[in-house]
């Protein structure tokens, strides 16, 4: 049911682990729903120079964490903020509909990590989308 790219990022996840003294951390998800994602970023001159993750979750959750951290590395905070869940899913060559929420989680994790950095640095926070209110038709989100 998963694409080859999903399986590749699941089996050989990029950026697994923690950053010591990270500049920003974002933790999203809920054990009730079976996935928790923790994203760590290192920021230098407004650029994400490193990103790592720890994830409790299914194959799609692990692959989405891996892909999202890959995609934001080297980006400015503004550009990284623009990373959408759809872009993560597309980069993975698609996710099954029921698993789209994993890419949503990845987007939210990145947002939380960026805002954590902004907070620590006394910068105004950017407005995060309301949790789990994304523009897809199916009921993909966990209500807990």
């Amino acid at each position: 049911m998963y694409s080859d790219t999903v399986m590749d990022h699941f089996k050989n996840p990029r950026n697994v682990g923690e950053i010591e003294n990270p500049d920003g951390v974002g933790e999203v998800g809920n054990p009730v729903c079976g996935d928790i994602m923790k994203i760590f970023i290192k920021v230098t001159n407004n650029i994400i120079v490193d990103a790592k993750f720890k994830t409790f979750g299914c194959g799609a959750a692990i692959a989405s964490s891996s892909m999202a951290t890959e995609l934001v590395k080297g980006k400015t905070l503004e550009d990284a903020w623009q990373l959408s869940n759809k872009a993560v899913a597309e980069a993975l060559e698609g996710l099954p509909p029921i698993k789209m929420h994993c890419s949503v989680l990845a987007e939210e994790g990145i947002h939380k990590a960026i805002n954590d950095y902004r907070k620590k640095n006394g910068l105004p926070l950017w407005e995060e989308k309301k949790t789990h209110s994304h523009d897809h038709d199916e009921d993909l989100t966990c209500e807990h």
């Binding site: 699941f10 079976g34 996935d35 720890k54 409790f56 979750g57």
Partner: protein, 390 residues
């Protein structure tokens, strides 16, 4: 190692079936000789099923499988007895074929009680007796649970139903070939079974209906199955079911001893090699081939993907397999916290499994668990809080 999902068709069973696709394809409702042969083999299979269950041949009705049998038993009894009452008792851990049928009946005005189970998945007979009212027309409790393998005290539950003159149905889909069954001794009025769970073909099952039970038809049409279940008979399937249940019940002890030894070897190995686990289901009252363990801090689907990579098929109570985001209703009913329910792994052993298969799992699984724990933030938290020592 997912035999509770389905089994292969045993070669002996397949060989018995094949002539009924080619030479003996007559419609049993027709009048000519080859059709009469078809009729005869169906009746022979009916006798085989009856013998395996301790019932009479005329109490056996062939269906398309477990789901149809469950639907028929529950809807059929509900609609035939609604003047007597509108209350049905079942449990929280039934298969969806029972649960969703009951939910459908709720929309039709029936009242359903879903009995809780204890931490091992057992129904308390006292709770059942308390739940019975003068409106109760049916009790439906599974013989053995498909996820955690727990075997319910069916004879005792059946006796309570009998005492209160309430029909007693059991979904025995997982039990056939694993547990000796006697519908008379165990006070069973209706029993569902499915051939592909005991080395028979898919698409065929049966419902035992004790003589005298008031039940409506589910499939209307021709006069097959004593005018109770319409549709041209699946002759080859029925022959396969008969042969398979005969084999399964003849080998029941031998099968049980072999499979249980493998399961215990697996469980012992996992306990020795992997810390922070929880064994789900009852320690003794369980199906011989059922292994169900939760591995804390990790999620089931990612475990399955890695096991599949090593050629091991399993299943999980995690959300991924249910098409929803909720963990399995069985795991929640036995009181597992959701994150632990998501980390469950079910392996169900069958005739083809060997000690070597078990040793392969014991080689692969610890690595999979530790790889996934290494990337789990829950594990990291537990280590930090001193709940777990690396």
């Amino acid at each position: 190692m997912d035999h509770a999902a389905t089994t292969y068709t045993h070669p002996e069973v397949l060989n018995a079936m094949l002539p009924y696709y080619t030479e003996h394809f007559g419609n049993p409702s027709s009048i000519y000789t080859i059709a009469r042969d078809s009729k005869k083999v169906i009746e022979a299979a009916r006798a085989q099923v009856a013998k395996a269950l301790g019932g009479d041949a005329e109490e056996i009705y062939f269906t398309s499988g477990g789901s149809e049998s469950d639907n028929w038993a529950i809807k059929g009894v509900a609609f035939a007895n609604r003047k007597r009452g509108n209350h049905i008792i079942t449990t929280k851990i039934e298969h969806h074929a029972v649960l969703h049928t009951c939910q459908f009946l709720e929309k039709e005005g029936f009242r359903i009680t879903y009995l809780p189970v204890d931490q091992y998945g057992l129904v308390d007979p006292a709770e059942l007796e308390k739940a019975i009212t003068d409106q109760t027309i049916l009790i439906s409790i599974m013989y053995a649970n498909n996820e955690i393998g727990t075997i319910e005290p069916i004879a005792e539950l059946g006796a309570i139903a009998r005492k209160h003159k309430v029909y007693f149905h059991t979904d025995a889909v997982q039990a056939i070939g694993n547990v000796p069954i006697d519908v008379k001794v165990q006070n069973i009025d209706l029993l569902s079974l499915s051939a592909h769970k005991f080395y028979g073909p898919k698409g065929v099952g049966a419902l035992y209906i004790k003589k005298g039970v008031r039940i409506e038809n589910l499939i209307h049409g021709g006069g097959q199955e004593h005018k109770r279940r319409a549709g041209t008979e699946n002759i080859a399937g029925i022959v396969g079911l008969g042969k398979a249940i005969e084999r399964a019940t003849a080998n029941i002890m031998e099968h049980g001893v072999k499979i249980k030894a493998l399961r215990d070897r697996l469980l012992k190995g996992v306990i020795e090699k992997i810390p922070d686990i929880r064994i789900n289901g009852h320690p003794e009252r369980r199906l011989p081939g059922n292994f169900n363990v939760s591995f804390e801090f990790i999620e089931g689907e990612s475990m399955l993907l890695w096991l599949d990579d090593a050629g091991i098929c399993g299943s999980t109570g995690s959300a991924c397999t249910s098409g929803s985001l909720e963990p399995s209703h069985v795991m929640l009913a036995i009181g597992l916290p959701p994150e632990v329910a998501h980390g469950s792994l079910r392996l169900t052993l069958g005739d083809a499994n060997t000690e070597q298969d078990i040793d392969t799992v014991l080689e692969v699984l610890p690595k999979v668990v530790s790889r996934l724990r290494d990337m789990s933030p829950l594990y990291q938290k537990a280590v930090k809080n001193g709940e777990y020592n690396v």
